[in-house]
């Protein structure tokens, strides 16, 4: 296992009765790296993502997150570790009785709560950080709104803001672009790429859109011009930091770079390359 890796999956398996949700999955993720996970519905993509932070316990194998083996941990021991990772749920998973600002503030307050042992917050720079993060996803004006008052795409972006407000070294995205129009989907993927390049965070992205993977692999965030620019140099090491995983019936059937994916002859794998919205 490489040293300093954020995430290590080693022969992880999970079975529901006769169906394999995960089958001998092996995976490593280092800082700044991205893994794009494709697969048909029910192939184990979301299960894999949830298993990373112990939301779903696995039957077999070892999962190491930030160097700690989480398969041996109890639920109560996992909370501290989970607060160090960010996760974006398919539908945003926002707390609908809290405002956008309170939603983004939640992980910060939660961390203080866990550290100080009670629910009081020291205010201080919490609001500043929340506003900074909302500005990052270009939604500062929605601070006092409730999630029901903003659009689906905005909710996803608030979900991203909530996941990254604590500046976690690992961010998990569960279908961040599902059900969105192509323009909004591209905005969201641009944010994810920006997050990766600005903070050098590792990310695991479950998606159905091939374009999402293409964007993560072929573009980088240019801080000077504040926009995404293509990585044109073939030898640029940044081209290899995004790798693709294709899952089928709980197992990984493809793992490789963008170029390897494009040249794959496997009909199941090619199905995801051809997929267009």
């Amino acid at each position: 296992m490489p040293e300093g890796s954020i995430l290590d999956f080693c022969n992880v398996s999970l079975q529901y009765e006769d169906v394999w949700a995960l089958k001998d999955v092996c995976l490593t993720l280092n800082p700044g790296e991205t893994r794009i996970i494709f697969g048909e519905a029910g192939s184990g993509k979301t299960t894999l993502l949830k298993a990373v932070i112990g939301l779903i316990p696995v039957d077999k194998g070892q999962i190491k997150v930030f160097g700690e083996d989480i398969t041996a941990m109890k639920e109560t021991e996992l909370f501290g570790l989970r607060s160090r990772a960010g996760i974006v749920f398919q539908e945003g998973g926002l707390f609908d009785s809290l405002t956008v600002g309170e939603n983004v503030e939640y992980p910060l307050v939660n961390r203080q709560t866990v550290e100080h042992g009670n629910g009081t917050q020291d205010g201080g720079n919490v609001e500043g950080r929340v506003r900074d993060t909302l500005r990052f996803v270009e939604l500062e004006h929605t601070y006092d709104k409730f999630p029901s008052e903003i659009s689906g795409g905005m909710r996803r972006r608030v979900g991203i803001a909530r996941a990254i407000v604590t500046e976690p070294p690992l961010v998990l995205y569960d279908s961040p672009t599902a059900g969105l129009d192509p323009i909004t989907a591209n905005t969201i993927m641009a944010l994810i790429a920006k997050e990766r390049d600005v903070r050098n965070s590792a990310s695991l992205i479950v998606t159905h859109r091939y374009q999402d993977g293409e964007l993560m692999a072929g573009f980088r965030y240019d801080r000077e011009h504040e926009e995404l620019v293509p990585v044109t140099d073939e030898r640029d090491p940044r081209r290899n930091r995004t790798k693709f995983i294709v899952m089928k019936e709980g197992g990984i059937v493809f793992f490789g770079t963008h170029e390897e994916l494009e040249t794959s002859n496997d009909p199941y794998v090619r199905h995801f390359i051809k997929h267009e919205e």
Partner: protein, 252 residues
Amino acid sequence: MLRFLNAWIGPFQEFLLLAGRAFKNLFRSPHYYDDVFIQMDIIGVGSLVIVLLTGFFSGAIIALQMARALNTYGASSQTGTIVSLTLVRELGPVLTALLVAGRNASGIASELGSMKVTEQIDAMRALGTDPIQKLVTPRLTATAIMLPALTVVADAIGSVGAYLVSVPLLHIVASSQYWSTFWRALVLNDLAQGLIKPFLFGMIISLVGCFYGLQTTGGTQGVGRATTQAVVTASIWIFVVTFFIDKIFVNL
């Protein structure tokens, strides 16, 4: 038969596990005091009007019914005693608990159920918060504190309702006699069961509400089902527990 038993024992075991963790969290950090106070406000202060109304009319109804029955035996002077014992021992705790079960077990189940089906519970776990610590324990604490308080209020207002019927309305007993018999009838045993019952009912209502809420599956229809199950189960348990507490206290 085995499948039938499994369908009952499985959920009951899960319920006990949830209850165990909720109690354990009382002694473990972090403590969400803000949430406890918010729930005390929702459950306690929010139920006050309905408890006042039902308490008042229960007292008045007991007085009306008893006045006629006691008059038959020429014992209408004992109205205070009867009202006092019936209210403090049984009707106060049970009626208040049933009202709070209808109002709050359903509220808790639907709130937590909606959170469950919209991935908010998972989000909470993913963000590093124990949903039992954050959602269940504050509701358990708040209901266990507020239900005895509401019961005392219901008993008090019930005694006033009964007083108004038996003294100014029916003139079957003198004011001073009503109140002196009312107080004299009560012994420590009555007060104890009048307070222990709502304390236990409070735990049952909150835990049953939370249990069905957290078990919710199947979208909005599932939320509706969880809400109904929570109220029905909490109400049944209130009667079952009343029976056993009565059995214990009758033998004391």
